[in-house]
Symmetry: C2
Subunit: 684 residues, 2 copies
């Protein structure tokens, strides 16, 4: 008795990428289901495993969390990593501190890299999703069949559900990962191997168990408009679509220990890159709650029985915490390391792979580990995975809401596959440097020189922050002509973007294709200082930010009044693309940041369209800001930091994901209109 139901978006996998997608759907009010094959009832055990799934959170990830309202929780609970210490062999061959650099490049973000276990991060998402929507993660639910009618992919009619998925509700036993169910032998430490890439995927086993035990769980059919496969490196969705990951594995085997360290090593609460002369390397990642994660090169581990090495899987029975700890002590000698508290451990081989396709007809999408796998040491995995769906979510939501054309969905693969390839390149280089033997001296050409390593590390830090992401030109990124040739990711342009070109020189530090930098500005109405990014929450709204400059000057006032007049016309893009029953700022929000003295102005000195009136809420007090001195938090110097001349001004378009789409003249209303006309749909 299979039940049938319809949903706008079906998400498979409730890890970070799936959660981020749900966060968008919750915010945008999209009818969504999210399923995960792992069960709920075993949550205590599963949570102890999640303890192990810790990762650094990049600055950019924290900025994104802030846009969903929970960066403060992550900031409060996490360990903050401030400094990287390099330890290398000295002349006598013993390790010694050879240098220090800040972990996060000062000034690139208002956040710095922190470390927190994945279970807490998923909790923040769950709380947000539950507070803002009726979406609930359905655990112990396994997709077992997928039908996709490609011929209907481009059909925009509201009752078109081209995707059909069969879901089976598992019994608790089925939904409990094997290793958890069988290894609950009183050990306090969880064996993380089954979550690492040395463990065989358990999806097939789960499907088999479900088949055998079919009466235990109900089967249902779900018809969906869109679908996301965020179901990990062994993605069932990816395999159903016939897509693969391409790339390579290496010989290097690494062990991971999460311990409360007992040690005389002086930098154990710093991030450390320790290279021994002959015994391999250790990376130290200090964590919350006194824990420290150690990535330890396990050079002595044997190969599989069949002698396979490169590209093959190692024999997991030979790796255990004692072996890993012994390696650590060899590498870190003469310092001693031990523990009484072992929170988690695992081992993995480094491998870098990228998916061949990121979507099927822009209806079924893949994200996170389902399209890119790499080593965990760079602290990128969870971040890039979440940023995949942070890129995708608002696009699907706006297409479903009928405000944007389906063509914008193509930008997901264009934008994110180039990031995935960058990530793989970065990880490959980083891993080689980190796993390699340090050079003995300048003549040692096979060894990795300390200079080379430090330089790569410093460069890598910029990539690793997530701030360097620079999306190529498209209908939703209007690069300037010069930038379109040389931008960071790729130069894809289409007809629309060619017709609207940015004038980057008007806001030199508001880089088109990159995320809007954040500087403090004051609310004109109440003098409160805000980091400008805080005024760009993730709610699916595009923003036009007017920087009129110094309004004590008549020409600056005249320019602002001219553009405001055009924005107020019944035919303006603000009106044409906003549904008749939608709030004035539901599709495109206009924000104004003027320069000058707050106390010389009030919001009634500004045209109405810049602080619209609402019959229930009155005037809008949250649209007009000023670049001025605050009482308690200094001066943001926003114009200076954004590279905008107060005597000239600028207009900026910001995407719902905070990426800069356009920079132009404040009076160039027609470019603004033309930009939105390139992909937005007129409302009736």
């Amino acid at each position: 008795m299979a039940s049938e139901s319809k949903v706008d978006v079906l998400i498979v996998g409730a890890g970070p990428a799936g959660m981020m997608m749900s966060a968008w759907m919750a915010r945008c009010g999209i009818k969504t289901r999210i399923v995960d094959k792992r069960g709920t009832k075993a949550s205590t055990l599963i949570m102890s495993i999640f303890n192990g799934q810790a990762d650094g959170l990049q600055c950019r990830t924290l900025e994104i969390f802030d846009s969903f309202g929970f960066a403060d929780r992550a900031w409060l609970e996490s360990n903050h990593m401030l400094e990287i210490c390099f330890w290398n062999p000295d002349e006598s061959g013993k390790i010694a501190r050879s240098g220090r650099i800040p972990d996060t490049i000062p000034g690139i973000s208002r956040f710095q890299q922190v470390v927190l276990n994945q279970g807490r991060i998923e909790r923040f998402f769950l709380d947000q999703i539950e507070r803002e929507s009726d979406i609930r993660v359905e655990r112990g639910v396994l997709p077992i069949a997928l039908k996709f009618d490609e011929s209907k992919a481009e059909d925009n009619s509201p009752d078109n559900y081209p995707i059909t998925v069969t879901l089976r509700h598992l019994t608790q036993e089925e939904a409990t990962p094997k290793q958890v169910a069988t290894s609950a032998n009183g050990m306090t430490a969880s064996d993380g191997l089954f979550r690492s890439n040395l463990a065989a995927d358990d999806t097939a086993d789960l499907i088999k168990a479900a088949e055998l035990n079919s009466k235990a769980g109900a089967v249902e059919t779900v018809h969906a408009k869109y679908m996301l496969g965020a179901d990990g490196a062994h993605s069932w969705v990816r395999r159903e679509l016939g897509f693969t990951l391409e790339g390579e594995s290496t010989d290097y085997i690494w062990g991971v220990l999460d311990i409360v360290p007992i040690t005389d090593f002086p930098d154990i609460r710093m991030r450390c890159a320790i290279h021994s002369a002959e015994s391999g390397s250790v990376m130290v990642i200090p964590r919350e709650n006194k824990l420290v994660r150690l990535y330890i090169q396990v050079t002595t581990t044997e190969k599989n029985a069949d002698g396979t090495s490169a590209g093959s899987r190692a024999d997991r029975s030979k790796i255990n915490p004692e072996v890993i700890l012994a390696s650590a002590n060899k590498i870190m000698a003469p310092y001693k390391l031990s523990y009484r508290t072992l929170d988690w451990w695992t081992a993995y081989q480094i491998g870098q792979r990228v998916g061949t396709h990121f979507s099927a007809n822009e209806r079924i999408f893949l994200a996170g580990d389902a399209v890119h796998t790499h080593s965990p040491k760079a602290g990128q995995g969870m971040n890039v995975s979440m940023q995949d769906t942070f890129n995708l979510g608002w696009k699907i939501a706006s297409v479903l809401k009928g405000t944007a054309d389906r063509s914008i969905l193509k930008s997901y693969e264009v934008e994110r596959s180039s990031i995935a390839h960058d990530l793989i390149k970065f990880d490959h280089k980083f891993s080689r440097l980190f796993s390699g033997r340090p050079a003995k001296d300048v003549m040692d050409e096979e060894g990795i020189s300390l200079t080379e390593f430090k330089e790569a590390f410093a460069k890598g830090n910029m990539f690793a922050s997530g701030i360097a992401v620079n999306y190529g030109g498209s209908s939703i990124v209007a690069k300037s002509p010069e930038a379109a040739e040389t931008n960071g990711t790729n130069g894809v342009t289409n007809g629309a973007s060619k017709s609207v070109v940015s004038r980057q020189e008007l806001a030199t530090e508001v880089k088109v294709g990159m995320r809007m930098p954040s500087h403090k500005v004051l609310n004109q109405s109440d003098a409160r200082p805000w980091h400008f990014q805080q005024r760009l929450p993730s709610n699916g709204t595009w923003r036009v930010v007017l920087f009129p400059g110094d309004l004590t000057k008549a020409d600056r006032r005249a320019d602002l009044e001219a553009v405001s007049k055009q924005l107020s016309q019944p035919t303006s893009f603000l009106k044409r693309f906003t549904p008749k029953d939608g709030r004035y700022d539901s599709v495109i929000e206009v924000l104004t940041v003027h320069s000058g003295h707050r106390q010389e102005f009030g919001i009634f000195d500004f045209p109405d369209v810049l602080h619209p009136f609402h019959e229930v809420d009155g005037w809008d007090y949250n649209k007009i800001f000023v670049d001025d001195q605050s009482y308690h938090e200094g001066h943001g110097e926003a114009y200076k930091n954004y590279g905008i001349d107060p005597a000239v001004g600028a207009a900026v378009i910001i995407r719902p994901d905070q990426y800069v789409a356009y920079v132009g003249e404040i009076t160039d209303y027609s470019s603004l209109d033309q930009f939105f006309s390139g992909f937005m749909l007129e409302q009736k």
Copy 2:
């Protein structure tokens, strides 16, 4: 069939004062019950009333919230008030903006005054209490009889329960406030009168209802060691003890509207003090979620039918939102004010009263509105109430745990009654200034001059911040000889404090009797910047903070080593007052803040006692800090800001509530020992 049970602390009343007490008890692991006569089932209705119970949160209150781990939630959800605008009649008699000042004095705290409804604040407390203990607020529970055996007050034996309280569990109907139960007529706005002091107290009604309906709810007997009456202005506990409030009422009647304003008044999102020429005054308090609270002088309201006026209660049937709004429009003319959203309203008469006693034999204590009532406009009520029990909680906990002598409990009344009297004085002056007619010109002696008003307002701001609190000398506050004569609250001293005297000049800005100011320092182990107050969480621990100065100097190192050696002795106060099974920092925590360059030192350069070893957790990485430049958050300049000479150093004792108890020489171990010996109990 009355059940009997025992509890260490019984709290009556789950408002802010009761919640703060529970927060301490949860942190300190004290067996506690907290009861409130209001019910749970009607919580939706009650929450809509709590909406109305909004208040400013002082900087000091936010510092305290931070010590319990939830200042960030309050900071995020609240409206921040940055500026006060004064509006007064101009020469033509129309109101005009006559000045602006910052709402919080810049530099006095890392927080500024914010506004948030009481329901959210109680939620933060509930979350903290539930997370950290098994204490649960029991609602719909009414105390109906109190027996207190005064003769056993000083008996310290662990099975002495001198307090016996009979509790009756109410039915839902009984526990639902009358006005809520009867006025649910579909109006969106709650009538707040029953919570204001114009409403008759409903305790007697509730007791009567409970008697009539006695079979509905169970009765139980609770034996308690200590008890807190935090049950509001009509405190049942206070009346059972025979104590009264003394003070006066005035003629002025004020209406309160919580609305989403629709207005052309330009400063509606600022805190405003508006004085009209002839029509009275309005205070504007901008709140969260677009709401604005308006305190409006209702000059036309009639007196009671019997003609009573001053000191009597007004006829509430004559006051309604329309009357209040009409007054506001008269006062704020020519600006217009209206609303479509009315969240809450009430009316009150100003009255200032202080309790005659704050405790019965230091066994039963009163706090909050039970011992002081005043007008709400100064935004003090909730703050001072919470600070009452913030002062009391750790004292009771340490006596119950056997670490401190009962004599410290006397300091509660000494310290808090002087604050209550200051509050009443402040409120009296403030209310008179605010309710009075503005002076027409300098010759108008009866009117309040703008200069006088502004000066009082600015002075009041320091008091209102909560930072100015300065506790008098006692066994737990070792004032310097000069300060003991002139301190802010009172000069009570006892034998112990006379024998230990502070040397205030060694840390000129660490004022003995006042809360420890906060400046940023770096953790020596991981370079993380912390506001020093963040290292003083409310967990019941005393702190000795060693400021050794610049450790590159041999004499500074020698001093630090000398005092460390004494701290390490088996006979040191650290050892004598810490239970044998307690952690090394469970009663007194030693923190070190040195000056100089972080990178020149590691924690192993410091004596072990300053970063103790624990067999499971290893070395302690959270005890040693440094006053140095951070990577991302500047330089805290802690030594400079604390007024400590790096060439001399200092030792500071901080109470569990962050108040400075002692400042002395770093080598003066014997004063430290003597100070703690004055009230701490040796452990066996």
